[in-house]
């Protein structure tokens, strides 16, 4: 089971700024370990965001994204108290969803 994400959603004017930190190895599949064996690729492929159960963003990621990635976007039409849910799925089929409340 993957470690939890850290999500902050704060109102800034009429939009909410959402900041997400994800705990993930993001292994490219290009590196070798000390024994010379290729370390298998293991990275997040899709990220999606929901605002009160309504999909507002989806992204396709690849091995070029860093380890423990940080994502930030602004959300129009959000109000304090709204829910923001982020979901990622990696190439091993592992997935994780975390939720935050807009403040």
């Amino acid at each position: 089971m993957a470690d939890p994400m850290k999500i902050r959603a704060q109102m800034a004017g009429d939009k909410a700024t959402v900041r997400v930190l994800m705990a993930h190895e993001m292994e490219t599949g290009q590196r070798k370990d000390s024994a010379g064996n290729t370390i298998p690729a293991w990275y997040i492929q899709t990220v999606s965001a929901k605002h009160n159960d309504k999909p507002v963003m989806s992204a396709q990621w690849g091995p070029a994204v860093s380890k423990n990635p940080f994502l930030q976007f602004s959300l129009k039409g959000a109000k304090a108290g709204d829910k923001v849910a982020i979901t990622w799925t990696d190439n091993k089929g592992d997935t994780r969803t975390d939720e935050a409340v807009v403040s």
Binding site: D3, P4, K6, R8, Q10, A12, T17, R19, L21, A23, S66, K67, N68, F70, Q72, S74
Partner: protein, 267 residues
């Protein structure tokens, strides 16, 4: 927990771009790069993991670390980091955060401290140490370094640390002081802090533990010192050994009054 800055990331990028064109020094550029990264410091992921570990029953004795005395009484985490290393009456030793955690893990949880100290960095129980260090140092974020020097052994360790700091040796005839005494020194583009005095808020001793972006790891002061010894081509010091603790006392006492920004973020 660190307060997240309200300024949008794109705004910071635009400012940095404008600043570059006005002829900024490389050091200013690095400082701005760090500022931009602060908003999404993955050290927070380690903090969350460490907090959970602190409160989880583990080891043969199936106990949490919540009764661990880090110098401010059993279970007190806030403010402990900025007063470490310090003398502990129960072990009759001056201990830094990592060696104190080893003591707690052994006495409270029944884990084998010697095995943990020997384990490679960043794996198994050592990875747990990193997370715990992130959590404990974060609880003192923004506080000023204030190491005690009242006990005789604390003064002895300061003197020992000073000697270790100036001890020259190895194939390159280096000492810590070769790089970290005097101002304006650098390795490539990295400015080196003067560790013989207070180098300023959030610089040197007051900046560790830190998340290193280049390796995606969280480094404690023990690991930082281990790497300093590697760069000097010295033999590796033992994990949580007296010489590493003495250097911690020396740097920490010199940095008195500096604001701790741990866990910080490094390139």
């Amino acid at each position: 927990m660190k307060a997240w800055k309200a300024a949008p990331l794109l705004g910071a990028l635009a400012i940095a771009g404008a600043a570059w064109s006005q002829g900024k020094s490389a050091a200013d550029g690095i400082a701005e790069y760090r500022k931009m990264l602060e908003d999404g410091n993955p050290a927070e992921l380690f903090e969350a993991k460490g907090e959970k570990l602190w409160k989880t029953q583990r080891g043969p004795k199936n106990a949490t670390l919540e009764q661990c005395d880090l110098g401010k009484g059993p279970g007190v985490v806030k403010g402990a980091w900025v007063e470490l290393p310090r003398y502990f009456a129960d072990t009759k030793r001056v201990q830094d955060l990592e060696s104190r955690l080893l003591t707690c893990m052994e006495t409270l949880q029944g884990l084998n401290a010697a095995d943990i100290a020997k384990a490679p960095f960043g794996r198994g129980e050592q990875a747990n140490m990193d997370a715990l260090a992130a959590y404990i140092s974060a609880a003192s974020n923004g506080m000023k370094m204030n190491l005690p020097q009242a006990h005789r052994d604390e003064k002895v360790m300061y003197e020992l640390g000073k000697r270790a700091f100036y001890f020259r040796g190895g194939p390159m005839d280096f000492s810590c002081a070769s790089c970290h005494e005097g101002s304006g020194k650098r390795v490539r583009l990295q400015d080196l802090p003067d560790l013989t005095k207070n180098p300023g808020d959030g610089i040197g001793f007051a900046a560790w533990p830190a998340y290193r972006v280049s390796s995606g790891e969280l480094w404690t002061m023990q690991r930082r010192l281990n790497d300093c010894y590697r760069q000097q081509r010295f033999p590796y010091p033992g994990y949580a050994s007296d010489v590493t603790i003495a250097l911690g006392v020396y740097m920490g006492v010199n940095a008195k009054g500096a604001e701790s920004i741990a866990p910080s973020i490094k390139r």
